[in-house]
């Protein structure tokens, strides 16, 4: 497997090195195989690509800007800090790239209903948005705990015409929302597309979702080269399932840039280093000694996922990327730091990437660092007001 190109196509069985695959009930295997064929066909079709590009431009607002952060860079002691501004996309995060791609693909496959899981609500809002745009029915599963934490996003999804259903089993967070979405799909696979929100799940999702986010990496590379005359020394992104990281890493996979995926300390699947199989994929997984999946614990609902996309597991195993973790306290500091120095309130998820940069500043002085600012912080302001006080 060592001759696989870095961040290229997986094997026909959906393997990135030892990771990935298609561990789903038989009912869903034909749907995954059909999706693989449909995606290959669409991705090779200039008409599909043009339709998606038009939506990404005219509807989602791409390309997103690259912002140089002079004040924060100075405060960190002299880091050339660049932010890829996915927070400025329609719906407020990078998630829109993937859902527009999948919603168009679903339409092409003749499926008029989308089902999705969501953690913080960003993917759910993005899916509800795409469904509204394309006239598709939409059901979003969200953990009961997350529905309480992110009630504004629940309202947004309903406003957009989606049905939001609580995942009331297990830890009642993102992993349970994935379980419920898969159970829904098992029963409705004939007319429903599962619009999975990250680079996880069974093949072809990890690959397909990364390809839909590749635009992030392509733009960022061009923008960095235009600004710096070179690729950045370090590329940093937060990792729950790992979709924004996969998107931005893909732009620099063949460059000299160091790739850093930052996990929450309470949900460090790669950091924990235990391989496992769940939600259709073989990857690293937070679990007990018997293989029961453990709850992730993070201040960020969007990163509360005990697994990680299989390509990240492979990038870690092969040494192409590293996956350190940061604590909630470091994240809270970084959330305030960016707000105060640059006038940008980040979502708690990319605040993880910023927290790593802040912590490792001594080794980053004099270097160029690109951070994927994957989403904006509006959704987190109420939660942070509780943490910090009014």
């Amino acid at each position: 497997m060592s001759d696989q190109p870095v961040m290229g196509e997986p094997t026909p069985g959906g393997r990135f090195g030892d990771f990935g695959g298609m561990f789903v009930p038989e009912t869903l295997v034909p749907a995954c195989l059909e999706l693989d064929r449909a995606f290959r066909d669409a991705w090779a079709d200039g008409g599909f690509r043009a339709e998606l590009d038009a939506l990404l431009g005219d509807y989602a607002g791409r390309p997103s800007p690259l912002t140089r952060c002079q004040r924060l860079g100075d405060e960190l002691g002299g880091v050339t800090l660049l932010l890829k501004r996915e927070d400025l996309n329609h719906t407020g995060s990078h998630k829109i790239n993937n859902v527009l791609g999948q919603a168009l693909l679903a339409k092409r496959m003749g499926k008029d209903r989308l089902v999705a899981e969501t953690g913080a609500g960003q993917h759910g809002v993005a899916t509800a948005t795409a469904a509204a745009l394309l006239g598709q029915r939409c059901t979003v599963y969200m953990g009961e705990v997350d529905m309480a934490r992110q009630e504004l996003n629940v309202f947004r999804m309903r406003l957009l015409g989606a049905e939001v259903k609580p995942a009331a089993s297990g830890s009642r967070t993102l992993k349970d929302a994935v379980n419920e979405a898969m159970r829904d799909w098992v029963a409705t696979v004939e007319d429903t597309h599962y619009c999975l929100g990250s680079v996880m799940g069974p093949h072809p999702y990890p690959w397909m979702v990364r390809e839909f986010h590749r635009v992030l990496g392509i733009e960022a590379r061009e923008q960095c080269v235009a600004l710096l005359g070179d690729v950045p020394d370090v590329v940093v992104a937060c990792v729950g399932g790992g979709s924004n990281a996969a998107g931005i890493f893909s732009g620099f996979a063949d460059d000299r840039s160091e790739l850093v995926g930052v996990e929450p300390a309470g949900g460090a699947a790669i950091g924990g280093g235990i391989p496992g199989i769940v939600h259709g994929m073989q990857s690293f997984l937070k679990q007990d000694e018997f293989g029961q999946v453990e709850e992730a614990q993070s201040i960020s609902a969007g990163l509360d996922y005990p697994g990680v996309g299989p390509e990240h597991a492979h990038l870690a195993a092969s040494g192409r990327a590293i996956y350190p973790s940061v604590t909630d306290a470091e994240v809270i500091d970084a959330f305030q730091l960016l707000s105060r120095t640059e006038g940008i309130i980040p979502a708690l998820e990319p605040a993880h990437a910023l927290a790593w940069v802040s912590r490792e500043r001594a080794s980053l002085v004099g270097r160029s660092v690109l951070v994927s600012l994957s989403g904006r912080g509006d959704k987190d302001v109420a939660q942070m007001m509780e943490v910090l006080g009014p």
Binding site: G21, P30, K175, R183, V186, V278, Q282, G291
Partner: protein, 259 residues
Amino acid sequence: MSCPGLEVALRRRREQGGKSLVPYLTGGLGDWTTILLAAADAGADAIEVGIPFSDPVMDGPVIQQANDLALAAGATPPGILDALSGLDAGVPLAVMTYANLVYRFGWERFASRCAAVGVSGAILPDIPLEEVGPWAAAADAAGVATVLLAAPTTPDDRLAAICERGRGFLYAVGLLGITGERDSLAASAKVIAARAKQVTDLPVLVGVGIGTPRQAVEVCEVADGVVVGSAFVRRMVETGSPEAVAELVEEFRSALDAG
């Protein structure tokens, strides 16, 4: 007393002109080993023992709840296998669980532990044909039958390949959906059973959505037998009583025997 393996027992039932009844019971839930023995005595042809997993994506609310109760009571894969050791049920035993518990245990270790405690089959619904290689090799070597599933969505060529690789019996999923009782038998149940019977000599048992003796009889107009889960597990959860579960086994048994 030694008992025949899973496939032998189910084939024998078919050769005798009968229909197989395989109740699913949640391992680690209450007095489950006593319940298992009672179900075997009451006329089950084999017993499927569920090993609870934290994220059972193929299972509906009844089995999910039973899983949670068993896990809260401390059920573990090695604990359940240990409890089966020396249990003289007199009918073949199969385990049903999910890939990660077996992967974590180790494919080979799990297969040999199954064989050592008298488990002759395993059903792992999230390991489809594409991924079954490492497990099936370990199971074959240990003499444990790898039961594969076929679904209403499975196309013909794939169905043939599944039947070719499957051992023990073919688990035909009766409907599009997760485990649980339904008001009536889905039309897809007899269709998948008939399609499977055309391409395999393996016993074809329908599971998922078979909740009453009447539904079992109806699907067995075509199928060689049934796997019944939620109806038994619900009774385990609600009564905890070996007699109550045995009574339901008898109802299914007599209905199937009467045809």
